[in-house]
Symmetry: C2
Amino acid sequence: MKKTGSLEALAEALRRLPGVGPKSAQRMAYHLLQHDREAASTLGHALLNAMDRIHHCSSCNTFTEIEICETCQDAQRDGTLLCVVETPSDQMMIEQTLTYKGLYFVLMGRLSPLDGIGPRDIYLERLIARATDGIVQEVVLATNFTNEGEATAHYIGEMLKARGLKVSRLARGVPVGGELEYVDAGTIARAMLDRRSA
Amino acid sequence: MKKTGSLEALAEALRRLPGVGPKSAQRMAYHLLQHDREAASTLGHALLNAMDRIHHCSSCNTFTEIEICETCQDAQRDGTLLCVVETPSDQMMIEQTLTYKGLYFVLMGRLSPLDGIGPRDIYLERLIARATDGIVQEVVLATNFTNEGEATAHYIGEMLKARGLKVSRLARGVPVGGELEYVDAGTIARAMLDRRSA
């Protein structure tokens, strides 16, 4: 069988989605054509629509359709606190805890020299401009506790401390509901070092 | 964070791809927005284009952009042979063997009562019309050797034999390069029953 042009182009385009190989791409293309043409049209429009409308919030750098996102515009929030996260998903997780009422800055990544991701790729110049606006007093570093997230936090922390800002990091320790027997030694060691008066 | 409308719509639409759950859909959406907007636009256009242009070949039922696909239009092919396959991928596999020069009919599925896939969903009326065009003399059943594929082959075979057509099935046996020690008993049993003079 000679594949038709549009079908070949569709399979090629689906392959560029993260985690989709040639076999899955072909399966997806056949599935859409045979069983779910409506989903395919919806996805097509959603993609073009999203790429056309979504850009970075000029304040916190997250994805938004408006110039400054709703979170940044919220007058109820504490402008003296700025929480730095890696991704919009991380921001969402923190929002769900209902314990933080300050503003955010979304890096859209983490420093990762091995992957060629340097300070410019995580918008550090914009972060510095944002953090030194004269209103922000404390920056809470909430990057992940992976090696790369820790390195990113360290790098940003040093940079902001040099500009006279108070910098904090999410506490590390035993997870809520955690049993010591099943927690890794590194976490327990850190919890011991960071122990607090009861 | 409140997700913006277009972003939410994009993640929702990506979820409808087979094998993509909510987490993957969100990861894909962020990846496209952050790192590969060009791929997203390409995919968007490819989807709309494909849905707009691709339909079933009026002769063999495969996907094509023209009324009758190139394979069916090929005058070099033997019109007395019709090979029935489940999917365009199966047809491609047979084409690659370079051993078959007849025409095809693509079911776009298999009978599967448990999934609610009956004779109408695999275009059996069109297959009968195609096979009884007066030119086709032998129908080669090349559905998969799974339970559903075998059932489909049996059902189609009975139907076509009742209409006076010669019906054959791909041979079953030990795979080329196969060692008996590692071949399953069912395959060896079938190869023994179907043994041929050497």
